[in-house]
Amino acid sequence: MTMRFLNAVLRTIRNSRRLAAGLVILGVMVLLALFSPLIVNAIGGGKDPIEVAAYEKWLVPGAGHLLGTDQFGRDVFAMVMKALSVSLQIGAIAGIISTVVGVIVAFVAGYKGGWIDGILSTFTGILLVIPTFPLLIALSAYAKNVTLFQVGVMISIFAWPFAAKTIRSQVLSLRTRPYVDLARVSKARDIEIIVTELLPNLLPFIGVGFASSALGAIFGLVGLEVIGLGPGGVVDLGQIIYNAITTGALTLGAWPMFVVPIVLLTLLFAALNMVNIGLEEVYNPRLRGVAGE
Amino acid sequence: MNNVPGNVSESVLEIKGLEVVYSTNRGDVKAVRGIDLDVRRGEILGIAGESGSGKSTLAVALLRLLKAPGKVTGGSVLFNPAGRSPVDLLKVHGEELRVLRWSALSYLPQGSMSSLNPVMRVEDQFKDVILEHAPERKSSLHEMIPRLLAQVGLEPRVARMYPHELSGGMKQRVLMAIAVALEPDLVIADEPTTALDVTIQRVILQSLADLRTDFGVTLMVISHDMGVHAQLADRVAVMYEGQLVEVGDVRQVFKDPQDAYTRQLIESIPKLGRRAS
């Protein structure tokens, strides 16, 4: 069972170079994040490299400090490593929450149909069309000292519609397939049909939903951070960019402080998008090769 | 107008050793394997054969519309348009090929239901091809389009309609009218009656026959239905698995099929058997 599943996954990945590339980049970043405590330690060589005044201020990049130091004399490389791990965690937390909510909403809406679908889809549609960033920043104004998990929850409030929309349209198309009808005729319980028939067929789209809501979540948090409204107590890559702007790193020429986080986030967005498009290409024959080389 | 004596050769098309291969990931499919065939000026040549025998592949190869993974792997196709020098259709490229299209060589596609541009009015789909190849006719367009539509039994108001407002048979007839708009030397019609009901089929066949009489075009009509060939064609060529198994005068072929496969094809149409006798 698990073997079959793994084989299917491997075959999928082998079929799409884009999906594979996205996963590899993601994997490398996750590894970096997992080992970030070790990396930070190694940089510190005994002391904490991101402590205030650990080193001299504004050191230029060099052998000792790959990316130099900031206005408080902290090692930028160590900070970036730690922040990367935070950004990824936020993405994962918000991605999972959004996907779960999205799947539930999509199933209820797409499977039940009728007026329930009407209301839920209109609601999802509204949230997707209206600008939700003002709502997010209003919310963040009250998130001064929150845990990483709370930030994840907060961001998911605005990220789940991405997942719900993708998955709903798939539920709709699967609902009409013969085997689902068959299950219905044989009076299987809805929940049984969902778990045994629908869910397995939806895995790739759940993957797409996860990737796009994780993307939306990281995007949202970075947005909050770079205008200085990020939740306190959480240092992600966006926060480093914000520090770079407010401390005048731009004018001082301390480009690593904002270029490196930007490059890392860009890579992350690119990887998630590649996973998205790769998955869609593999499972939607009409799209196959559409975004291709 | 087709009978310009002297510089016009007897054959419009001389196909020699044509081979087409589709390379798929399950190996190469030889869809056309070494076909030799002449199309005579002014005739209606039927191409018969069961589904998958390579009829459409032959057509698109001749029209140079073959798309990957299809590839012409051999042969030559000499095309003799009236008033132009003969060319090997497999060797012309770019501009040279483009100017041959429609004014000399036109096409009535299979599955014509989706061959019209859904967001353009019918008249505009006449206009663009006419103006492209015969810009001097610009001033006569207003009478030309209704005349062409009338030729295939359609009212002038059809010109102002969009494809989705037409029935299948109407679309088919619009395509026929477009195909002969520039009085080409050769029209290749792929399954012109398939998927239409019997009454419309008869109308379409009648219009096709009229086109030859009125415009003097040479027609190559592809159909898996031997009945169509019996009603329409002068000669018929039977294809089987990418090869020609029999070519001959249509009455001759029906009366005395030389090939076992041809006989099978004819016999598979009981209604036709009655008519032929």
Binding site: I130, P134, A138, T251, L265, F269, E293 | S115, N117, M120
Partner: protein, 364 residues
């Protein structure tokens, strides 16, 4: 979308038979009108829903504008005694905070719909929030509107060409670049552009919307200054915006290229450019019109950061200033305006679509 459309039937009743009366019959004879009425109905439902979501969202998160106002006034020495209960009551009245949440909601909606009144702002007390917002609105409409339209046009054209020339190097580069960058915040590009053009080269301004030495007005000088100051923020939106339109257009284009009518156009011997524009592009830009409307909210989100970085005097900057001072009337007002503009734009585009696309069915 959701509401059941009247079961409109195609028109084939002969004119001589007794003319059918009633609304349904009329609608069935005017499918376009039926479509428009239904679409406008949906618009009002969506608008009402979105404004309601926004209102309750703001009322449910903690925060007391009156307390904030009094603190602000105290800080500015405009008011130095302890706030009396009377005063607090007066402010509560003024900010519409009396009564239960539902009556607050009714009063807010009534003032908004009937008088366009959003209540007093805090960042500029006692100027009403709608005046603060209306002052900022033209800047955002100018910056965001022009950049969004420009990216759409560029992206659709380039995306169509990328699809057309698929398999070629240029197309591959454009496609992969789009995949990599289409989800990057505009802000990142803005930051890089500012670093290069404003700080390193010093050729373009990095702050504000026009040269403060020039008095605003309809003068060539002022307009030139606005364009010059708008270049970097606009460019950051256009760069990323174009890339994402390239990707989605290309995805629409490639299936169209496999359609029978494209092969037919080739068989007709039309020129390549003509096939691209009249056959391929015309069949795939229409869905992008709807997509444009839907993308506006997203563009607005990204635009907030860009405005803030450039200190551009638009809605985004107003929003951030307001949030820093917990000025709820203004934040909610900006949200309402943004919701209204986006939904209205989507409505107008949807109403325009049947005029552009002959295939759109008005009845279903």
């Amino acid at each position: 979308m959701t509401a059941d459309a009247p079961p409109v039937v195609a028109v084939d009743k002969s004119q001589d038979s007794a003319p059918s009366r009633g609304v349904r019959a009329w609608l069935s004879r005017h499918p376009l009108a039926a479509y428009a009425i239904r679409r406008v109905g949906i618009y009002f439902v969506e608008l009402w829903g979105a404004l309601t979501i926004a209102f309750f969202f703001f009322r449910l998160i903690p925060g007391d504008p009156v307390q904030t106002l009094i603190q602000t006034l105290q800080q500015n020495y405009m008011y130095n005694q302890q706030a009396s209960t009377e005063l607090i009551a007066r402010y509560q009245q003024e900010f519409g905070l009396t009564g239960n949440m539902f009556s607050q909601y009714l009063k807010y909606m009534e003032k908004l719909v009937l008088h366009g009144d959003l209540g007093p702002s805090l960042i500029n007390y006692p100027t009403p929030a709608q005046d603060v917002i209306l002052r900022a609105l033209p800047w955002t409409i100018g910056l965001l509107g022009i950049s969004a339209v420009l990216s759409w046009i560029l992206g659709v054209i380039l995306g169509a060409i990328a699809g057309w020339r698929r398999g070629k190097l240029g197309s591959a580069i454009a496609t992969n670049l789009s995949i990599a960058l289409s989800h990057v915040p505009y802000f990142f590009v803005a930051l890089i552009l500012v670093y290069i053009f404003a700080y390193s080269m010093g050729v373009l301004p990095a702050r504000s919307a026009y040269d403060s030495n020039i008095s605003p007005g309809i003068s060539l000088e002022f307009i030139g200054s606005v364009l010059k100051y708008g270049l970097l923020p606009g460019l950051s939106i256009v760069v990323i915006g174009t890339l994402s339109w390239i990707l989605s257009t290309r995805m629409l284009m490639v299936p169209v290229l496999g359609e029978d009518y494209l092969v037919y156009a080739e068989a007709k011997g039309l020129k390549g450019w003509r096939i691209l524009t009249r056959y391929a592009l015309r069949n795939c830009y229409l869905p992008q019109i709807t997509a444009f409307g839907i993308s506006l909210g997203f563009i607005f989100n990204g635009n907030v950061l860009v405005e803030q970085l450039f200190n551009y005097p638009g809605l985004g900057t107003t929003l951030v200033t307001a949030i820093q001072q917990l000025d709820f009337n203004t934040i909610l007002g900006v949200t309402d305006i943004a919701i209204f503009s986006v939904l209205t734009a989507v409505l107008l585009l949807d109403l325009l679509l049947p005029l552009l696309d002959p295939r759109v069915k008005y009845w279903k």
